[in-house]
Amino acid sequence: MGAVETFDLRREFRTSGLRRGETVVALQDVSLDVEEGEIHGLLGPNGAGKTTLIKILSTVLLPTSGRAEIFGYDVTESTKTVRKLFGLVFGGDRGLYTRLTARQNLDYWAALYEVPTQQAKETVERLIHLVGLDGRAEDRVETFSRGMRQRLHLARGLVADPPVLFLDEPTVGLDPVASLDFRGMVTGLRDEGKTIFIATHDMAEAEAICDRVTLIDHGEILATESPRTLGAWISAFEWVEVLGLDIETRDILEAVPGVASVADQPGGWVRFQPEREDASAEILQLALNHGFASVRTGYPSLEEVYLRTMGDRGMEV
Protein backbone atom coordinates (compact mmCIF):
# COMPACT_ATOMS: atom_id res chain seq x y z
CA MET A 1 0.00 0.00 0.00
CA GLY A 2 1.41 3.37 -1.01
CA ALA A 3 1.12 6.49 1.10
CA VAL A 4 -0.95 8.16 -1.60
CA GLU A 5 -2.70 6.29 -4.36
CA THR A 6 -5.16 7.27 -7.04
CA PHE A 7 -7.18 4.94 -9.21
CA ASP A 8 -8.61 6.17 -12.51
CA LEU A 9 -9.25 9.54 -10.97
CA ARG A 10 -11.27 11.84 -13.17
CA ARG A 11 -12.46 15.38 -12.64
CA GLU A 12 -14.66 17.39 -14.96
CA PHE A 13 -15.70 21.02 -14.61
CA ARG A 14 -18.62 22.85 -16.13
CA THR A 15 -17.52 26.09 -17.75
CA SER A 16 -19.17 29.42 -17.14
CA GLY A 17 -19.25 32.67 -19.09
CA LEU A 18 -19.55 32.62 -22.89
CA ARG A 19 -18.88 28.90 -23.10
CA ARG A 20 -21.27 28.17 -20.28
CA GLY A 21 -22.25 24.57 -19.84
CA GLU A 22 -19.33 23.00 -21.67
CA THR A 23 -17.46 20.22 -19.91
CA VAL A 24 -13.74 20.58 -19.37
CA VAL A 25 -11.80 17.52 -18.30
CA ALA A 26 -9.19 18.58 -15.73
CA LEU A 27 -8.04 15.07 -14.84
CA GLN A 28 -8.34 12.03 -17.07
CA ASP A 29 -8.23 8.65 -15.38
CA VAL A 30 -5.20 9.47 -13.29
CA SER A 31 -3.62 6.51 -11.51
CA LEU A 32 -0.49 7.01 -9.49
CA ASP A 33 1.26 5.65 -6.47
CA VAL A 34 3.34 7.71 -4.04
CA GLU A 35 5.46 5.51 -1.81
CA GLU A 36 5.83 6.19 1.88
CA GLY A 37 8.86 8.35 2.67
CA GLU A 38 9.50 9.61 -0.85
CA ILE A 39 9.38 13.05 -2.38
CA HIS A 40 7.16 12.62 -5.38
CA GLY A 41 6.97 15.46 -7.85
CA LEU A 42 3.96 16.23 -9.98
CA LEU A 43 5.42 18.12 -12.87
CA GLY A 44 3.44 19.91 -15.52
CA PRO A 45 2.77 23.28 -17.11
CA ASN A 46 0.10 25.66 -15.85
CA GLY A 47 -3.34 24.18 -16.36
CA ALA A 48 -2.04 20.62 -16.49
CA GLY A 49 -4.23 19.47 -13.61
CA LYS A 50 -1.68 19.55 -10.78
CA THR A 51 -3.69 21.76 -8.43
CA THR A 52 -6.89 19.87 -9.22
CA LEU A 53 -5.22 16.62 -8.17
CA ILE A 54 -3.87 18.16 -4.96
CA LYS A 55 -7.31 19.57 -4.16
CA ILE A 56 -8.92 16.17 -4.55
CA LEU A 57 -6.26 14.50 -2.42
CA SER A 58 -6.68 17.18 0.25
CA THR A 59 -10.50 16.63 0.30
CA VAL A 60 -11.45 20.12 -0.82
CA LEU A 61 -12.63 18.94 -4.23
CA LEU A 62 -14.64 15.86 -5.12
CA PRO A 63 -13.62 13.67 -8.04
CA THR A 64 -16.10 13.09 -10.82
CA SER A 65 -15.14 9.41 -10.83
CA GLY A 66 -12.37 7.13 -9.66
CA ARG A 67 -10.93 7.17 -6.19
CA ALA A 68 -7.98 8.38 -4.17
CA GLU A 69 -6.57 7.00 -0.94
CA ILE A 70 -4.15 8.18 1.70
CA PHE A 71 -2.70 5.30 3.65
CA GLY A 72 -5.63 3.21 2.45
CA TYR A 73 -8.33 5.69 3.52
CA ASP A 74 -10.60 6.89 0.77
CA VAL A 75 -10.51 10.70 0.57
CA THR A 76 -14.22 11.01 -0.15
CA GLU A 77 -15.50 8.36 2.27
CA SER A 78 -13.12 8.63 5.23
CA THR A 79 -12.74 12.39 4.97
CA LYS A 80 -12.37 13.07 8.67
CA THR A 81 -9.64 10.45 9.13
CA VAL A 82 -7.84 11.51 5.98
CA ARG A 83 -7.74 15.18 7.04
CA LYS A 84 -5.54 14.27 10.00
CA LEU A 85 -3.03 12.52 7.76
CA PHE A 86 -1.80 15.38 5.62
CA GLY A 87 -0.62 18.96 5.73
CA LEU A 88 -1.44 21.31 2.88
CA VAL A 89 1.00 24.00 1.79
CA PHE A 90 0.36 26.51 -0.97
CA GLY A 91 2.83 28.74 -2.72
CA GLY A 92 2.52 32.50 -2.97
CA ASP A 93 0.88 34.93 -0.61
CA ARG A 94 -2.26 32.94 0.11
CA GLY A 95 -2.97 30.78 3.14
CA LEU A 96 -1.88 32.95 6.07
CA TYR A 97 -3.50 35.55 8.30
CA THR A 98 -1.15 38.37 7.46
CA ARG A 99 -2.30 40.69 10.27
CA LEU A 100 -1.39 38.08 12.83
CA THR A 101 2.09 37.14 13.95
CA ALA A 102 3.82 33.98 12.82
CA ARG A 103 3.30 32.43 16.24
CA GLN A 104 -0.40 33.37 16.33
CA ASN A 105 -0.90 31.72 12.94
CA LEU A 106 0.77 28.52 14.13
CA ASP A 107 -1.02 28.51 17.51
CA TYR A 108 -4.35 28.82 15.73
CA TRP A 109 -3.75 25.90 13.39
CA ALA A 110 -2.32 23.77 16.18
CA ALA A 111 -5.62 24.22 18.06
CA LEU A 112 -7.65 23.40 14.97
CA TYR A 113 -5.71 20.17 14.58
CA GLU A 114 -6.31 19.41 18.26
CA VAL A 115 -2.63 19.26 19.15
CA PRO A 116 -2.57 19.06 22.99
CA THR A 117 -1.78 22.45 24.52
CA GLN A 118 1.67 21.70 25.94
CA GLN A 119 2.68 19.73 22.87
CA ALA A 120 1.42 22.57 20.66
CA LYS A 121 3.67 25.04 22.47
CA GLU A 122 6.70 22.83 21.95
CA THR A 123 5.79 22.04 18.35
CA VAL A 124 5.27 25.69 17.44
CA GLU A 125 8.59 26.60 19.03
CA ARG A 126 10.37 23.78 17.21
CA LEU A 127 8.78 24.68 13.87
CA ILE A 128 9.62 28.36 14.22
CA HIS A 129 13.22 27.29 14.74
CA LEU A 130 13.10 24.75 11.92
CA VAL A 131 11.97 27.34 9.39
CA GLY A 132 14.42 29.94 10.65
CA LEU A 133 11.92 32.47 11.98
CA ASP A 134 13.20 32.57 15.57
CA GLY A 135 13.74 36.31 15.60
CA ARG A 136 10.50 37.12 13.80
CA ALA A 137 7.96 34.89 15.53
CA GLU A 138 6.21 37.83 17.19
CA ASP A 139 6.13 39.96 14.03
CA ARG A 140 3.10 40.29 11.83
CA VAL A 141 3.21 38.14 8.71
CA GLU A 142 2.47 41.18 6.53
CA THR A 143 5.99 42.41 7.29
CA PHE A 144 7.55 39.16 6.04
CA SER A 145 9.36 38.62 2.76
CA ARG A 146 8.00 36.09 0.27
CA GLY A 147 10.56 33.54 1.36
CA MET A 148 9.72 33.95 5.04
CA ARG A 149 6.02 33.56 4.31
CA GLN A 150 6.72 30.40 2.39
CA ARG A 151 8.69 28.97 5.28
CA LEU A 152 5.82 29.84 7.58
CA HIS A 153 3.45 28.08 5.16
CA LEU A 154 5.56 24.97 5.54
CA ALA A 155 5.55 25.27 9.32
CA ARG A 156 1.75 25.60 9.26
CA GLY A 157 1.49 22.45 7.17
CA LEU A 158 3.64 20.61 9.71
CA VAL A 159 1.94 21.83 12.86
CA ALA A 160 -0.03 18.60 13.36
CA ASP A 161 3.00 16.47 12.43
CA PRO A 162 1.17 14.78 9.52
CA PRO A 163 2.84 11.84 7.77
CA VAL A 164 2.03 13.31 4.33
CA LEU A 165 2.62 16.80 2.99
CA PHE A 166 1.01 18.23 -0.12
CA LEU A 167 2.97 21.16 -1.51
CA ASP A 168 1.35 23.11 -4.34
CA GLU A 169 3.92 25.20 -6.22
CA PRO A 170 5.69 26.05 -2.97
CA THR A 171 8.58 27.96 -4.50
CA VAL A 172 6.63 30.01 -7.01
CA GLY A 173 7.81 33.61 -6.88
CA LEU A 174 10.74 32.88 -4.59
CA ASP A 175 14.23 34.11 -5.44
CA PRO A 176 16.85 31.41 -6.16
CA VAL A 177 18.38 31.59 -2.68
CA ALA A 178 15.02 31.28 -0.93
CA SER A 179 14.03 28.43 -3.28
CA LEU A 180 17.23 26.58 -2.48
CA ASP A 181 16.66 27.15 1.20
CA PHE A 182 13.10 25.86 0.97
CA ARG A 183 14.12 22.79 -1.00
CA GLY A 184 16.69 22.01 1.68
CA MET A 185 13.94 22.01 4.29
CA VAL A 186 11.77 19.74 2.16
CA THR A 187 14.50 17.16 1.70
CA GLY A 188 15.16 17.35 5.43
CA LEU A 189 11.52 16.43 6.05
CA ARG A 190 11.83 13.45 3.73
CA ASP A 191 14.81 12.34 5.81
CA GLU A 192 12.53 12.47 8.87
CA GLY A 193 10.21 10.01 7.16
CA LYS A 194 7.56 12.33 5.73
CA THR A 195 5.95 11.53 2.43
CA ILE A 196 5.95 14.62 0.26
CA PHE A 197 3.86 15.15 -2.84
CA ILE A 198 4.93 18.33 -4.55
CA ALA A 199 3.25 19.95 -7.54
CA THR A 200 5.57 22.14 -9.56
CA HIS A 201 6.15 23.40 -13.07
CA ASP A 202 9.86 23.84 -12.38
CA MET A 203 11.85 21.00 -13.92
CA ALA A 204 15.03 21.94 -12.12
CA GLU A 205 13.20 21.86 -8.79
CA ALA A 206 11.72 18.46 -9.54
CA GLU A 207 15.11 17.17 -10.56
CA ALA A 208 16.80 18.59 -7.47
CA ILE A 209 14.59 17.17 -4.74
CA CYS A 210 12.28 14.45 -6.03
CA ASP A 211 12.81 10.72 -5.77
CA ARG A 212 10.31 10.21 -8.53
CA VAL A 213 8.52 12.57 -10.84
CA THR A 214 5.14 12.16 -12.50
CA LEU A 215 4.67 14.22 -15.62
CA ILE A 216 1.18 15.47 -16.22
CA ASP A 217 -0.32 17.50 -19.02
CA HIS A 218 -3.90 18.21 -20.03
CA GLY A 219 -5.02 16.15 -17.05
CA GLU A 220 -3.26 13.00 -18.23
CA ILE A 221 -0.29 11.32 -16.68
CA LEU A 222 2.38 11.00 -19.31
CA ALA A 223 5.02 9.18 -17.35
CA THR A 224 6.52 8.58 -13.96
CA GLU A 225 10.28 8.83 -14.15
CA SER A 226 13.30 9.14 -11.92
CA PRO A 227 14.92 12.59 -11.80
CA ARG A 228 17.96 11.07 -13.52
CA THR A 229 15.89 10.56 -16.67
CA LEU A 230 14.45 14.00 -16.27
CA GLY A 231 17.94 15.45 -15.92
CA ALA A 232 18.98 13.78 -19.13
CA TRP A 233 16.05 15.38 -20.92
CA ILE A 234 16.91 18.78 -19.59
CA SER A 235 20.61 18.67 -20.44
CA ALA A 236 19.93 17.15 -23.83
CA PHE A 237 17.95 20.20 -24.77
CA GLU A 238 20.08 22.93 -23.23
CA TRP A 239 20.21 25.65 -25.85
CA VAL A 240 23.10 27.99 -26.60
CA GLU A 241 22.77 31.58 -27.83
CA VAL A 242 25.64 33.57 -29.32
CA LEU A 243 25.62 37.33 -29.92
CA GLY A 244 26.68 38.97 -33.18
CA LEU A 245 27.77 35.88 -35.07
CA ASP A 246 29.18 36.24 -38.56
CA ILE A 247 27.86 33.97 -41.28
CA GLU A 248 31.01 31.89 -41.47
CA THR A 249 31.06 31.00 -37.76
CA ARG A 250 27.31 30.47 -37.78
CA ASP A 251 27.76 27.82 -40.47
CA ILE A 252 30.52 26.16 -38.45
CA LEU A 253 28.38 26.00 -35.33
CA GLU A 254 25.36 24.81 -37.27
CA ALA A 255 27.45 21.94 -38.59
CA VAL A 256 28.15 20.62 -35.09
CA PRO A 257 26.67 17.11 -34.85
CA GLY A 258 23.50 17.15 -32.80
CA VAL A 259 22.37 20.67 -33.62
CA ALA A 260 18.67 20.38 -34.37
CA SER A 261 17.88 23.96 -35.31
CA VAL A 262 19.28 27.47 -35.56
CA ALA A 263 17.09 30.52 -35.10
CA ASP A 264 17.62 34.27 -34.96
CA GLN A 265 16.53 35.85 -31.71
CA PRO A 266 15.80 39.50 -30.85
CA GLY A 267 18.82 41.71 -30.16
CA GLY A 268 21.20 39.94 -32.56
CA TRP A 269 21.34 36.65 -30.70
CA VAL A 270 21.37 33.35 -32.57
CA ARG A 271 20.00 30.29 -30.79
CA PHE A 272 21.39 26.81 -31.39
CA GLN A 273 19.04 24.11 -30.23
CA PRO A 274 20.78 20.76 -29.81
CA GLU A 275 19.08 17.41 -29.63
CA ARG A 276 22.06 15.64 -28.10
CA GLU A 277 23.48 16.00 -24.61
CA ASP A 278 27.10 16.87 -25.53
CA ALA A 279 26.30 19.23 -28.38
CA SER A 280 25.81 22.38 -26.30
CA ALA A 281 29.30 22.13 -24.78
CA GLU A 282 30.83 21.82 -28.24
CA ILE A 283 28.89 24.80 -29.57
CA LEU A 284 30.01 26.87 -26.61
CA GLN A 285 33.64 25.91 -27.07
CA LEU A 286 33.62 26.62 -30.79
CA ALA A 287 31.97 30.01 -30.31
CA LEU A 288 34.62 31.03 -27.79
CA ASN A 289 37.41 29.72 -30.01
CA HIS A 290 36.15 31.96 -32.81
CA GLY A 291 36.22 35.02 -30.57
CA PHE A 292 32.54 35.24 -29.69
CA ALA A 293 32.53 35.72 -25.95
CA SER A 294 28.92 36.88 -25.59
CA VAL A 295 27.23 33.56 -25.17
CA ARG A 296 24.44 32.35 -22.96
CA THR A 297 22.74 29.06 -22.29
CA GLY A 298 19.37 28.05 -21.04
CA TYR A 299 17.10 25.16 -20.44
CA PRO A 300 14.02 24.49 -22.45
CA SER A 301 10.61 25.17 -21.03
CA LEU A 302 8.56 22.26 -19.87
CA GLU A 303 6.37 22.62 -22.91
CA GLU A 304 9.42 22.36 -25.18
CA VAL A 305 10.58 19.20 -23.44
CA TYR A 306 7.12 17.73 -23.79
CA LEU A 307 7.13 18.62 -27.43
CA ARG A 308 10.53 17.12 -28.11
CA THR A 309 10.41 14.03 -25.96
CA MET A 310 6.89 12.94 -25.27
CA GLY A 311 5.63 14.48 -28.46
CA ASP A 312 7.89 12.07 -30.34
CA ARG A 313 7.61 9.09 -28.09
CA GLY A 314 4.09 9.39 -26.88
CA MET A 315 3.28 7.31 -23.83
CA GLU A 316 6.28 5.06 -24.28
CA VAL A 317 8.77 7.25 -22.43
Binding site: F13, S58, R83, F86, F90, G95, L100, A111, L112, Y113
Partner: protein
Protein backbone atom coordinates in the same frame (compact mmCIF):
# COMPACT_ATOMS: atom_id res chain seq x y z
CA UNK B 1 -14.21 23.32 22.06
CA UNK B 2 -10.51 24.15 21.98
CA UNK B 3 -10.75 24.86 18.28
CA UNK B 4 -13.74 27.12 18.85
CA UNK B 5 -11.90 29.00 21.59
CA UNK B 6 -8.84 29.36 19.35
CA UNK B 7 -11.00 30.72 16.52
CA UNK B 8 -12.61 33.17 18.95
CA UNK B 9 -9.22 34.39 20.22
CA UNK B 10 -7.80 34.54 16.73
CA UNK B 11 -10.71 36.70 15.51
CA UNK B 12 -10.29 39.07 18.46
CA UNK B 13 -6.59 39.44 17.64
CA UNK B 14 -7.45 40.00 14.00
CA UNK B 15 -10.23 42.48 14.77
CA UNK B 16 -8.20 44.73 17.04
CA UNK B 17 -5.72 45.17 14.17
CA UNK B 18 -8.27 45.66 11.41
CA UNK B 19 -9.97 49.08 11.13
CA UNK B 20 -13.01 47.63 9.32
CA UNK B 21 -14.10 45.87 12.47
CA UNK B 22 -14.27 49.20 14.33
CA UNK B 23 -16.56 50.88 11.85
CA UNK B 24 -19.69 49.98 13.83
CA UNK B 25 -18.25 51.63 16.92
CA UNK B 26 -17.08 54.68 15.00
CA UNK B 27 -20.45 55.14 13.28
CA UNK B 28 -22.40 54.93 16.53
CA UNK B 29 -22.03 58.53 17.90
CA UNK B 30 -23.40 60.25 14.76
CA UNK B 31 -26.35 57.86 14.74
CA UNK B 32 -27.06 58.56 18.41
CA UNK B 33 -26.98 62.29 17.75
CA UNK B 34 -29.26 61.86 14.73
CA UNK B 35 -31.89 59.87 16.62
CA UNK B 36 -31.75 62.10 19.70
CA UNK B 37 -32.05 65.22 17.56
CA UNK B 38 -35.27 63.86 16.03
CA UNK B 39 -36.61 63.20 19.52
CA UNK B 40 -35.52 66.65 20.61
CA UNK B 41 -36.94 68.53 17.62
CA UNK B 42 -40.34 66.90 18.03
CA UNK B 43 -40.16 67.22 21.79
CA UNK B 44 -40.84 63.53 22.47
CA UNK B 45 -38.84 62.63 25.59
CA UNK B 46 -40.88 59.39 25.78
CA UNK B 47 -38.95 58.19 22.70
CA UNK B 48 -35.47 58.67 24.17
CA UNK B 49 -35.24 54.95 24.96
CA UNK B 50 -36.07 54.13 21.34
CA UNK B 51 -33.44 56.60 20.18
CA UNK B 52 -30.81 54.85 22.27
CA UNK B 53 -31.84 51.25 21.55
CA UNK B 54 -31.88 51.86 17.80
CA UNK B 55 -28.16 52.55 17.27
CA UNK B 56 -27.21 49.74 19.66
CA UNK B 57 -29.24 47.10 17.85
CA UNK B 58 -28.53 48.51 14.40
CA UNK B 59 -24.78 48.42 14.93
CA UNK B 60 -24.75 44.99 16.52
CA UNK B 61 -26.77 43.81 13.54
CA UNK B 62 -24.39 45.55 11.12
CA UNK B 63 -21.40 43.96 12.85
CA UNK B 64 -23.01 40.60 12.34
CA UNK B 65 -23.85 41.18 8.70
CA UNK B 66 -20.80 43.00 7.47
CA UNK B 67 -17.96 41.71 9.52
CA UNK B 68 -19.54 38.30 9.98
CA UNK B 69 -19.92 38.11 6.23
CA UNK B 70 -16.32 39.18 5.79
CA UNK B 71 -15.05 36.20 7.79
CA UNK B 72 -15.84 33.66 5.12
CA UNK B 73 -15.32 35.99 2.17
CA UNK B 74 -11.86 37.03 3.38
CA UNK B 75 -10.89 33.45 4.16
CA UNK B 76 -11.80 32.57 0.61
CA UNK B 77 -9.79 35.43 -0.88
CA UNK B 78 -6.79 34.59 1.28
CA UNK B 79 -6.87 30.94 0.27
CA UNK B 80 -7.72 30.05 3.85
CA UNK B 81 -11.13 28.61 3.12
CA UNK B 82 -9.50 25.67 1.37
CA UNK B 83 -7.12 25.11 4.26
CA UNK B 84 -10.01 25.28 6.72
CA UNK B 85 -12.05 22.92 4.56
CA UNK B 86 -9.12 20.50 4.54
CA UNK B 87 -8.79 20.63 8.33
CA UNK B 88 -10.53 18.17 10.68
CA UNK B 89 -12.73 20.89 12.25
CA UNK B 90 -16.22 21.72 10.97
CA UNK B 91 -15.89 25.14 9.39
CA UNK B 92 -19.32 26.20 10.71
CA UNK B 93 -17.99 25.95 14.25
CA UNK B 94 -15.04 28.16 13.33
CA UNK B 95 -17.25 30.76 11.65
CA UNK B 96 -19.65 30.77 14.62
CA UNK B 97 -16.81 31.38 17.06
CA UNK B 98 -15.36 34.13 14.94
CA UNK B 99 -18.69 35.88 14.44
CA UNK B 100 -19.23 35.62 18.21
CA UNK B 101 -15.92 37.43 18.74
CA UNK B 102 -17.03 40.18 16.37
CA UNK B 103 -20.36 40.51 18.18
CA UNK B 104 -18.59 40.64 21.53
CA UNK B 105 -16.55 43.60 20.26
CA UNK B 106 -19.69 45.21 18.88
CA UNK B 107 -21.10 45.36 22.44
CA UNK B 108 -18.81 48.37 22.79
CA UNK B 109 -21.55 50.33 21.03
CA UNK B 110 -23.53 50.23 24.29
CA UNK B 111 -21.16 52.40 26.38
CA UNK B 112 -20.41 54.51 23.31
CA UNK B 113 -24.14 55.14 22.82
CA UNK B 114 -24.72 56.03 26.46
CA UNK B 115 -21.65 58.25 26.61
CA UNK B 116 -22.65 60.08 23.44
CA UNK B 117 -26.18 60.60 24.77
CA UNK B 118 -24.86 62.04 28.03
CA UNK B 119 -22.27 64.27 26.38
CA UNK B 120 -24.46 65.63 23.58
CA UNK B 121 -27.98 65.86 25.00
CA UNK B 122 -27.32 65.33 28.70
CA UNK B 123 -29.57 62.28 28.66
CA UNK B 124 -29.90 60.58 32.00
CA UNK B 125 -30.79 56.94 31.33
CA UNK B 126 -32.51 55.20 34.18
CA UNK B 127 -32.88 51.46 33.73
CA UNK B 128 -35.75 50.03 35.74
CA UNK B 129 -34.95 46.34 35.27
CA UNK B 130 -31.28 45.56 34.80
CA UNK B 131 -31.75 41.78 34.94
CA UNK B 132 -34.08 41.69 31.98
CA UNK B 133 -32.01 44.23 30.06
CA UNK B 134 -28.76 42.28 30.44
CA UNK B 135 -30.51 38.97 29.80
CA UNK B 136 -32.09 40.39 26.66
CA UNK B 137 -28.79 41.82 25.45
CA UNK B 138 -27.08 38.47 26.04
CA UNK B 139 -29.59 36.32 24.18
CA UNK B 140 -29.90 38.97 21.46
CA UNK B 141 -26.14 38.96 20.95
CA UNK B 142 -26.20 35.16 20.65
CA UNK B 143 -29.12 35.28 18.22
CA UNK B 144 -27.28 37.88 16.16
CA UNK B 145 -24.32 35.47 15.96
CA UNK B 146 -26.68 32.92 14.38
CA UNK B 147 -27.78 35.48 11.81
CA UNK B 148 -24.17 36.35 11.11
CA UNK B 149 -23.42 32.72 10.27
CA UNK B 150 -26.31 32.64 7.81
CA UNK B 151 -25.10 35.77 6.03
CA UNK B 152 -21.50 34.61 6.17
CA UNK B 153 -22.36 31.43 4.33
CA UNK B 154 -24.14 33.38 1.60
CA UNK B 155 -20.97 35.22 0.65
CA UNK B 156 -19.71 32.00 -0.88
CA UNK B 157 -22.83 31.41 -2.92
CA UNK B 158 -23.03 34.74 -4.66
CA UNK B 159 -20.61 37.42 -5.76
CA UNK B 160 -23.49 39.86 -5.17
CA UNK B 161 -23.56 38.92 -1.49
CA UNK B 162 -22.42 42.35 -0.34
CA UNK B 163 -25.31 43.98 -2.21
CA UNK B 164 -27.63 41.37 -0.76
CA UNK B 165 -26.36 42.10 2.75
CA UNK B 166 -27.00 45.81 2.28
CA UNK B 167 -30.45 45.18 0.87
CA UNK B 168 -31.36 42.66 3.56
CA UNK B 169 -30.31 44.87 6.42
CA UNK B 170 -33.08 47.48 6.38
CA UNK B 171 -36.10 45.18 6.03
CA UNK B 172 -34.87 43.21 9.04
CA UNK B 173 -34.28 46.35 11.08
CA UNK B 174 -37.71 47.64 10.12
CA UNK B 175 -39.43 44.34 10.90
CA UNK B 176 -37.38 44.14 14.06
CA UNK B 177 -38.99 47.34 15.31
CA UNK B 178 -35.56 48.66 16.10
CA UNK B 179 -36.55 52.31 16.08
CA UNK B 180 -40.27 52.24 15.40
CA UNK B 181 -41.96 49.63 17.63
CA UNK B 182 -43.74 46.90 15.73
CA UNK B 183 -47.18 47.93 17.04
CA UNK B 184 -46.81 51.29 15.27
CA UNK B 185 -46.23 49.62 11.90
CA UNK B 186 -49.14 48.65 9.60
CA UNK B 187 -51.10 45.73 10.95
CA UNK B 188 -50.32 43.38 8.07
CA UNK B 189 -46.58 43.82 8.67
CA UNK B 190 -46.69 42.77 12.32
CA UNK B 191 -46.94 38.95 11.87
CA UNK B 192 -43.81 39.06 9.70
CA UNK B 193 -42.08 41.20 12.28
CA UNK B 194 -42.82 38.66 14.99
CA UNK B 195 -40.73 36.13 13.05
CA UNK B 196 -37.69 38.37 13.44
CA UNK B 197 -36.09 37.96 16.85
CA UNK B 198 -35.08 41.62 16.85
CA UNK B 199 -38.71 42.65 17.30
CA UNK B 200 -38.90 40.67 20.56
CA UNK B 201 -35.49 41.92 21.64
CA UNK B 202 -36.21 45.58 20.99
CA UNK B 203 -39.56 45.43 22.79
CA UNK B 204 -37.98 43.70 25.76
CA UNK B 205 -35.12 46.16 25.91
CA UNK B 206 -37.45 49.16 25.82
CA UNK B 207 -39.68 47.62 28.46
CA UNK B 208 -36.76 46.76 30.73
CA UNK B 209 -35.67 50.40 30.68
CA UNK B 210 -39.10 51.89 31.30
CA UNK B 211 -40.86 49.28 33.45
CA UNK B 212 -39.98 47.84 36.80
CA UNK B 213 -41.82 44.60 36.10
CA UNK B 214 -41.63 43.40 32.52
CA UNK B 215 -44.67 41.43 31.49
CA UNK B 216 -44.07 37.83 30.28
CA UNK B 217 -40.36 38.51 30.29
CA UNK B 218 -39.24 34.88 30.45
CA UNK B 219 -41.55 33.75 27.69
CA UNK B 220 -40.48 36.64 25.50
CA UNK B 221 -36.81 35.89 26.22
CA UNK B 222 -37.49 32.26 25.30
CA UNK B 223 -38.84 33.38 21.93
CA UNK B 224 -35.60 35.28 21.25
CA UNK B 225 -33.62 32.18 22.24
CA UNK B 226 -35.68 29.87 20.02
CA UNK B 227 -35.55 32.20 17.02
CA UNK B 228 -31.83 32.71 17.63
CA UNK B 229 -31.22 28.97 17.82
CA UNK B 230 -33.14 28.49 14.60
CA UNK B 231 -30.82 31.03 12.96
CA UNK B 232 -27.82 29.25 14.45
CA UNK B 233 -28.96 25.87 13.18
CA UNK B 234 -29.80 27.28 9.77
CA UNK B 235 -26.39 28.96 9.55
CA UNK B 236 -24.43 25.86 10.51
CA UNK B 237 -26.51 23.72 8.16
CA UNK B 238 -26.04 26.22 5.32
CA UNK B 239 -22.27 26.30 5.75
CA UNK B 240 -22.08 22.51 5.66
CA UNK B 241 -24.33 22.29 2.61
CA UNK B 242 -22.55 25.12 0.82
CA UNK B 243 -19.10 23.67 1.48
CA UNK B 244 -20.30 20.30 0.20
CA UNK B 245 -21.67 22.05 -2.86
CA UNK B 246 -18.49 23.98 -3.64
CA UNK B 247 -16.43 20.83 -3.10
CA UNK B 248 -18.47 19.43 -5.94
CA UNK B 249 -18.38 22.44 -8.21
CA UNK B 250 -14.82 23.48 -7.49
CA UNK B 251 -15.83 27.01 -6.48
CA UNK B 252 -14.19 26.79 -3.09
CA UNK B 253 -11.31 28.98 -4.13
CA UNK B 254 -11.15 32.21 -6.07
CA UNK B 255 -8.34 31.00 -8.33
Amino acid sequence: MRAAAAAFRMQLSLAVRTPNYWMVVISTPPQVVLFLSVVDVFDRPDLVTNALMAPILMNMWSASLWTGGAVMRDDRWLGLLEIHAASPQPYGLIVASRVAAVILLSLLVIPVTLLTAVLTYGVDVEVRNWEILTSTLTVTALAIVGTGIVFSSMTILSRAAVTFQAAASYPFLLLGGVFVPLELLPEWVRPFGRLVFLSWSSDLMRDSVTELVVENALARLAVVVVLGLLGFAAGLWLIRVILDKVRGTGEISTI
